[in-house]
Symmetry: C2
Subunit: 196 residues, 2 copies
Amino acid sequence: MDQAAYILASGWACSYKLVEDGQRQIVDFQIPGDFLGLRSVLLNVSDHSIEPVTDIEVTEIHVADLLAAFAQTPRLATAMLWAASRDEAMVVEHLVNIGRRDAAARLAHFLLELGARLALVGLGSKEGYACPLTQYLLADALGLSAVHVNRVLRQLRERGLVTFRDGFVAFGDYDQLANFAQFEPSYMDQTGPLLS
Amino acid sequence: MDQAAYILASGWACSYKLVEDGQRQIVDFQIPGDFLGLRSVLLNVSDHSIEPVTDIEVTEIHVADLLAAFAQTPRLATAMLWAASRDEAMVVEHLVNIGRRDAAARLAHFLLELGARLALVGLGSKEGYACPLTQYLLADALGLSAVHVNRVLRQLRERGLVTFRDGFVAFGDYDQLANFAQFEPSYMDQTGPLLS
DNA sequence: CGACACCTTGAAACCCCTCAACGACTGTGG
DNA sequence: CCACAGTCGTTGAGGGGTTTCAAGGTGTCG
């Protein structure tokens, strides 16, 4: 039981699962401040893989320390539980995104969510943000082909909604885009755990 | 803060999210023994809706009691965290299912997972299980149309893999079906939380 | 300069959706 | 007892969103 969890200090990573024919589904991208590998520690099963997107720096957390901390500081466990719930809420939103939105709305929603998360850690605004992802990564995250991602990005650009180029996402008309993607950021609850 | 969580004592329910044009995405079905509404309690935001599938019986859990129990029994919080992680792992698997499998494999995978979950609580086996879901519910869960669910069910039946009829799922060739759907039940970790 | 990764675009094929219609069954009220 | 509505399952035809295949362009790096 010498598994470890990490907190991403700088850089981007992604967690994904492979299917047998070589395709993969990216579950989420991790940005600075996010946990890495928390679930595999808790479940004692590595049910997904993690890969860096850029160069990354991490700080290690020993499982034993974590569990010991739980015992001494019950609130910590509650806070972790809250964090896990928020993560699950985001995965759920991805599920809705892939299951019930067409490629354009899917892509728009994804770029908006990423922007909102980055804004929280000071790495973006409603103007845009630096984004090291390739179109191939986007495709794997959104359940699309890279070719189609390219086409849809062009559509969104030509309609003046978003431009993703040269590693930078620039929102054209943020409000219209949010409306188009039916982006409701409430699922990214930031009010914190229910501690008294 | 008078929200409550529940444990499903009998019957089936489902949690879902709506998108604006009237479609919905079912995130998961709850079977006896599952939590209901845990995430909305933790996040203080009701980010999804719940609907009964059959008549149901629930036992209520007060949030205040739950948090108090965490403080007194740290291991309980760890156990809850483990449960939440398992739930998330299942949602992730659904994400992979919808994102990277075609309709037939998707349906097969779903029926297999449901069977495995039911078998754990004594409600099913490798032969089959009673299943009160309609084809419309399956469609909402799998990101498909009801019409297509119907067609794909027929395919699976004609190939002798599964038969879903009259509220009963009957596996034809379980192993071949599991292979076809690339069903790897390891993500449904049942070994329990990492409590020394 | 060549290798490589990534972006871009076109054409054809395919999976799945929408629309439409009908049958089987259930419950309900007359 | 029967007509009726409602839900669910079934099947066909047509259309559209995405995929695959293919090719070429750009930039970076050794």
